[in-house]
Symmetry: C2
Amino acid sequence: MMSDSLAPWRVALSRALHLNRSQPYSRYFQLATITPEGFPKNRTVVFRGYLDNTNQIKIVTDLRSEKVNQINYQPWGEICWYFTKTREQFRLSGRLTLITPNYPDSTLQKERQLAWQQLSDSARLQFTWPEPGQLRIEDNSAFSAASPAPEHPLEHFCLLLLDPEKVDHLELRGNPQNRCQYYLDESKNWIAQSINP
Amino acid sequence: MMSDSLAPWRVALSRALHLNRSQPYSRYFQLATITPEGFPKNRTVVFRGYLDNTNQIKIVTDLRSEKVNQINYQPWGEICWYFTKTREQFRLSGRLTLITPNYPDSTLQKERQLAWQQLSDSARLQFTWPEPGQLRIEDNSAFSAASPAPEHPLEHFCLLLLDPEKVDHLELRGNPQNRCQYYLDESKNWIAQSINP
């Protein structure tokens, strides 16, 4: 697929990641989804790189989190990613694919396993915690499980992919500001277009 | 209305704003809305304080921006506000009210005017720019209007209010993390509840 060649917006995004690399939170962005009732939801998640040989953005999530139900209902999301040092914003919208333990594609299961292996110990530990969003369990031993083995993911660990179909890049620096929109044409080639900020 | 007394989540939010005040981008957050077609949208906007004597969060926007149509269709949003220094996140969801030049309430019209007056010159200038999101006008004189007068807002300047009904506060610091949810009960009193992170 043409859309799996390196997309032109990745050059700008790689540059932003590089220039902002001194700040660990530059790898955090906000992911918007919608509920089955039609309300928007928004939360901070961590960039886990790209799926090999594609432009799909990797995120991880817990099968018990609220966004899972939202994504099953409407598998579409928009990332808003603001870089504080270079003062630029990327908005990436696209289809979401949730790689659960039962997802049938074996290549993507391997990717799920790899994503688990690449997590830090403390990130893996969070998947042993009691159900997120439920009344707080006050006994801290509920949060003190042993660190799970890095080889095989726990059952509620999911890889989440966002496959961008439209990207909007705004640079606040510059007089006036610069804004570029990227989208896929009918042949799945990326088109870049300057637009008014 | 009881919900207009100082909400308990404002204590935590004021503290975060204070502790992160050295970074101007601490007043930026991401606002999610949905399109009439049912897709999520997400963008960075600036916190402009609270509407006097209420818990409503002030934002400003251009009547020509895409979110206006989205808000007219579904007047609900979710803010995701991440503070990098203290490593905490607030998610605030609530009804959106767009104060356009034709909005019938004279008190809110005065608030719209006040919001315009409180903008910086460079922020006001952006409302003289050509239509956002359209093909870029390459002639920079289109972006070189004189700074508009601070007294009266330009026609497409809008005040946007978000009235929180549910707030989720997550502190990544702490072992384990702390998470508190605030919501309005049937009598419109705020309830705070610790939940699992």
